[in-house]
């Protein structure tokens, strides 16, 4: 495949992302070892606590991804007009980060439900934290649906950017729901300005897991960004080919009626 600028683009990997991929894989293997073998079971939660080493970092990464989406959306709206490419790279980054955010919100929900079954005896509770997390998940699914619509990419990007900025309001609501409402969900395990709820090996395992999952998220965002760029190049090339074909066939100009549904 050849880009609009004539550069050949064949794959999404580079030596850097390959190295990052291997690093992420190794980090996840060590995370599994720490989480499943080295760290002890919890006095109250027992073995179920091990689920938290994925559950908690997953929602942190989701928050972070949605924050990246918001910042890149803001930059797309503010700087896009002045740039030759209309700031499409900000739009791509926002989309890639949101996809990863939705993925990790899904991971949070699934691990949370499994943990809930073991600890609370039920997969689901109509609790403020759980409900707001589902709303966050569905809101960003809507954002991704908006991004997939057949429309002019810049117009679509602008609408999606505004939606991303509004949707981010949900993130602090989800995070602080355990403090603002009476919920069954436990308080945040780690939080700025408050003594950690966990200590020792469990504390370090949780912090290490956050780093490992971050490597995975960065690797995924990088690849998704490049795949989105490749999709754009494919669409541009298809359009150019169709125009050339039409010109070479010397067909009559398209009338309004050709676009009627």
């Amino acid at each position: 495949m050849t880009s609009a600028k004539g550069r050949s683009v064949k794959m999404t990997a580079t030596p850097f992302t390959r190295a990052l991929g291997f690093l992420a894989l190794a980090a996840v293997a060590v995370m599994a070892l720490l989480g499943l073998v080295v760290s002890p079971p919890d006095v109250v939660q027992g073995e179920a606590v091990r689920m938290l080493y994925l559950h908690v970092p997953a929602i942190w990464i989701a928050y972070g991804s949605f924050a990246v989406t918001s910042v890149s959306s803001l930059l797309f709206l503010r700087r896009g007009k002045r740039r030759e490419d209309k700031g499409r790279h900000y739009d791509r980054l926002g989309g890639a980060a949101a996809e990863v955010g939705v993925l990790f919100t899904g991971v949070t929900l699934i691990t949370g439900m499994l943990w809930g079954k073991v600890t609370w005896g039920t997969y689901w509770q109509w609790d403020a934290r759980l409900t707001t997390t589902v709303l966050l998940f569905v809101t960003y699914l809507g954002y991704l649906a908006l991004r997939r619509l057949p429309a002019d990419p810049v117009v679509r990007g602008r609408r999606a950017a505004i939606m991303a900025l509004i949707s981010f309001i949900n993130v602090p609501i989800v995070h602080y729901s355990v403090d603002w409402w009476r919920t069954l969900h436990q308080k945040a395990s780690l939080s700025v300005g408050r003594r950690p709820e966990i200590t020792g090996e469990m504390y370090w395992t949780l912090l290490y897991s956050a780093v490992a999952v971050t490597f995975v998220a960065v690797w995924l965002v990088t690849h998704r960004y490049r795949v989105i760029r490749l999709e754009e190049i494919r669409d541009e090339e298809m359009l150019t080919a169709l125009i050339s074909q039409r010109v070479s066939q010397d067909l009559p100009p398209v009338s309004d009626g050709d676009f009627d549904e």
């Binding site: 649906a145 908006l146 619509l149 609408r159 939606m163 900025l165 509004i166």
Partner: protein
Amino acid sequence: MLPEALLIARKDLKIEMRSKVALGQVAPLALLILVIFAFALDANSMLLKLGAGGLFWISALYGGTMLVQRSFDLESEDGNFDALRMSNIDPSAIFLGKTLALFVQIGILELVIGPAILILYETQVSDWLLLLLAAVAGTLAFAVCGVLWGVMASGLRVRTTLLPLLLVPVLSPVLLAGSRAFETALGVRAGDGWTWTGLMFVIASLHTAVGLGAFGFLLEEG
């Protein structure tokens, strides 16, 4: 800005008065939904009484979403949005005008559903002021969010399915707050209905601020 907003609102309401879609089609459907809820709950009067607040807002949500859809279909057809843009009217005035028109239309819809809830579900109002202010706050939040997300989906081929997907998660807090406030006003739940009413005003204000700032972007090249 205000005279322009009123002009836009008058235009939308005049179209509605002539076509009578809200009263003639959407309101009967919303009433039908209330009846279907009774079927689903096996006409259990106790359950219906307890859930009346929530059922009111779900019915309003369904009918209101259709009104939002229609409000933007009117503008998309025949390129009316282009005409509005070329008319040099401030986008914020268009946003406020459409919000006002939608507020009136959803309000009319609620004036039909409200008495139906009282009659069909045998509920009694214990705090009229709370009920009224909660309805105003919820309708305002609904109208503001509806316009903001309606323009987002407007002009797209899949807008009919996209709009509810975008709108319902955003309106869920309004649905929750409206239900709780109504339950208190209807005397079926002890609680602070005023806090929930306040929350709906906060949601409406937040989205109004975003709408005033972003509507121009959304209209541009839309």
